[in-house]
């Protein structure tokens, strides 16, 4: 065999082995969710859907799903709006303010979430809306905005800004020129940024733990408190649902970003 091909084959095998090893826990989670017994054991002795039935009868889990969805959508909307407009503003006016903005936006990502969680709890109690959806949404926005911002910076850096000039020149004001000339050309980037914000919110646990109450707790928070009481397959059921949601999100993102490519293939 040619040496280069041999090296390639070895690299691929090694890569695949590491990937499989790291993804195996997910398989364990999915398999244990189908266990019949009430104990979390792998492999399960008997298989059934009993825990799935229990999940749909358990109000706490169902409301946690609603909460996670609500917080996720709220975070997505605020973080995307803030991140996109910040990156757009930075691109248009690259002055002193812009140079300060980039590192400033990054700060929330550098502070451990546990510290953010505690300080925000204190802050929101003073402000008078602790344990509300709003407090969790704001906390998650703090994390998701920088990610959207950096995604959009990279998207905007590839955008041909002469198109904005052309739109203005033809009579489109600041808002219409953005909507007609910029937005259609960066919508894939915005979608990816928004999806990132949603996933960040969906999986964030530490800040949500500090900021939620019994009525606003999200899925990771419920999972944590449940595991502390008993390690039963219900956690696996919830995890399986989360894995499915993430997979769906990735598939949607892939399709959305490749729509142009797809449409060219089909036409």
């Amino acid at each position: 065999m040619h040496r280069e091909r041999l090296e390639n084959a070895l690299f691929r095998t090694g890569y695949l082995a590491i990937l499989t090893f790291m993804l195996l826990p997910l398989a364990v989670v999915v398999v244990t969710s189908f266990a019949e017994s009430g104990n979390l054991a792998f492999p399960p002795e008997n298989y059934s859907l009993v825990h799935y039935r229990a999940f749909f009868e358990e109000m706490r889990w169902l409301s946690a799903f609603d909460n996670s969805l609500l917080v996720g959508v709220g975070t997505t909307i605020t973080a995307t709006t803030l991140g996109v407009t910040a990156a757009f503003g930075h691109e248009i006016d690259d002055g002193r303010a812009g140079q300060v903005l980039a590192p400033l936006v990054l700060i929330p990502l550098l502070i451990p979430p546990i510290i953010l969680g505690i300080s925000m709890r204190v802050y929101f109690v003073r402000a008078g809306f602790e344990a509300s959806y709003l407090s969790i949404i704001l906390a998650h926005t703090l994390w998701a905005t920088p990610l959207v911002y950096f995604v959009m910076r990279s998207v905007f850096s590839r955008f041909d800004w002469q198109l904005l000039d052309a739109a203005k020149d033809l009579g489109a004001g600041p808002i219409r020129s953005f909507v007609y000339a910029v937005l259609p050309n960066v919508k894939h980037g915005i979608f990816v940024g928004a999806l990132l914000a949603f996933i960040i919110s969906l999986q964030e646990f530490v800040m949500a733990l500090f900021l939620s109450s019994r009525s606003t707790e999200t899925i990771p928070v419920v999972a944590w408190t449940e595991i502390r009481q008993s390690l039963d397959p219900m956690v696996s059921v919830v995890s399986t649902f989360l894995i499915i949601i993430s997979l769906i999100a990735i598939v949607i993102a892939t399709i959305a970003t490749n729509l142009d490519w797809l449409s060219k293939q089909l036409s």
């Binding site: 002469q162 000039d165 052309a166 739109a167 203005k168 020149d169 033809l170 009579g171 489109a172 259609p184």
Partner: protein, 384 residues
């Protein structure tokens, strides 16, 4: 009325001065070319006219209105961009109809008008195409149609032909002239290509280092350049360094690096130059005639360099003898680089002219003193 007045226009980016002082009045219906090397501030001036940049000082008036602080979308100007800036997510027709859409014109009406404009630039059959699939020349036409569709008072063209190949660019120049003649609108065209400027312009404005140096009709700026920069920028020329030896009421005698005194006849102020002042003389290839020294020497004059031949009309000519160093074929013309004393001068001949020379040949170069322009050390032109 769409007469444009620029008064003391300045644009500063931090410490950089992109445009220092541009003042000019552009007549209604005129086609003005702003010509200058890259970095001379011509595109910035155009963008300020479009409203895409705000001047840091000065005033812009279109017609009777002061539009200095008015944004692009509230101005009656339309720009054709260098890279055309067609909207990639819209069809050709939608691109052309965009400005009309912004004006609030209904869908069927704006599509009808856009289609007419596309027909005018002979792009009607491409109405439903993706603009990204068009060739450069086709994109150019669509961009032109898009800008003309809004019926602007002033059309601004920012080097729109610089990305086209020579042939296509020349065709488009003729078409632009025709469209300009037909529409009777004011056009401001920015270019770094002097041939383009000479072909298109009613008047040419020459820019250098952020300043509008000279504005005039093409032949005026070519024959009567204000300073050395313009003389060097418009076409090729030989600059010969020299020093004024003596002045009389009829002529100025300059000792040059050609190893020969050059006489400049003067009709005006004999004190235009002081004795001892250094000057640069511009000898354009088209004012230089060349002939073989064999022919010139046929009347027995072997030392042609010393002679002051008298032409048939009686005017004195200056002449030097040099050796051909290089022969450069440039299509329709042949350019000879000729070593004369310590310097080198280039001269041109059309291919049709009889008698080609080879490297090593000795030739006589002669000119009429009245065709020579002189410039002072600071670049200003000497008024002879």
């Amino acid at each position: 009325m769409s007469e444009i007045t620029l008064a003391g226009l300045e644009k500063r980016y931090g410490d950089t001065l992109a445009v220092e002082d541009v003042s000019v009045t552009i007549d209604d219906g005129e086609l003005l070319c702003l010509l200058g090397p890259s970095g001379s501030g011509k595109s910035t001036t155009l963008r300020m006219l479009a409203g895409l940049e705000t001047p840091t000082d000065g005033e812009i008036r279109i017609g009777d209105e002061d539009v200095t602080d008015r944004p692009a979308y509230e101005r009656t100007t339309a720009t054709v961009f260098q890279d055309w800036a067609l909207f990639p997510h819209k069809t050709v027709l939608e691109n052309v109809a965009f400005g009309l859409k912004m004006q609030g014109i209904g869908k069927s009406e704006r599509r009808k008008q856009a289609r007419e404009m596309l027909e005018r630039v002979r792009m009607g059959e491409y109405a439903d195409d993706d603009p990204m699939n068009l060739s450069g020349g086709q994109k150019q036409r669509v961009a032109l149609a898009r800008s003309l569709a809004v019926n602007p008072d002033v059309l601004l063209l920012d080097e729109p032909l610089s990305n086209l190949d020579k042939r296509l660019s020349e065709d488009m120049q003729i078409e632009l002239r025709e469209i300009h003649a037909e529409l009777e609108e004011t056009f401001v065209h920015v270019t770094h290509d002097q041939d383009e400027a000479f072909t298109l312009a009613d008047r040419i404005g020459i820019m250098a280092d952020g300043n509008l140096v000279q504005v005039g009709e093409p032949n005026e700026v070519y024959e009567n350049p204000k300073n050395r920069f313009i003389e060097g920028f418009l076409g090729d020329t030989n600059f010969v360094a020299g020093e004024v030896e003596r002045t009389t009421t009829e002529s100025i005698h300059v000792e040059t690096e050609l190893g020969r005194e050059v006489d400049l006849p003067t009709t005006g102020d004999a004190d235009a130059l002081a004795e001892g002042e250094s000057v640069a003389l511009s000898l354009r290839p088209e004012v230089l005639s060349i002939e073989s020294t064999d022919v010139a020497g046929s009347d027995g004059n072997a030392e042609g360099e010393q002679a002051t031949p008298v032409r048939t009309d009686g005017s004195t000519t200056n002449a030097v003898v040099g050796t051909v160093e290089n022969v450069l074929y440039r299509g329709s013309t042949i350019r000879y680089s000729v070593a004369v004393e310590d310097t080198s001068v280039f001269v041109e001949r059309t291919v049709a002219d009889s008698g080609a020379f080879d490297a090593g040949d000795e030739i006589r170069i002669s000119w009429d003193g009245a065709d020579v322009l002189a410039f002072r050390d600071d670049g200003s032109r000497v008024d002879l």
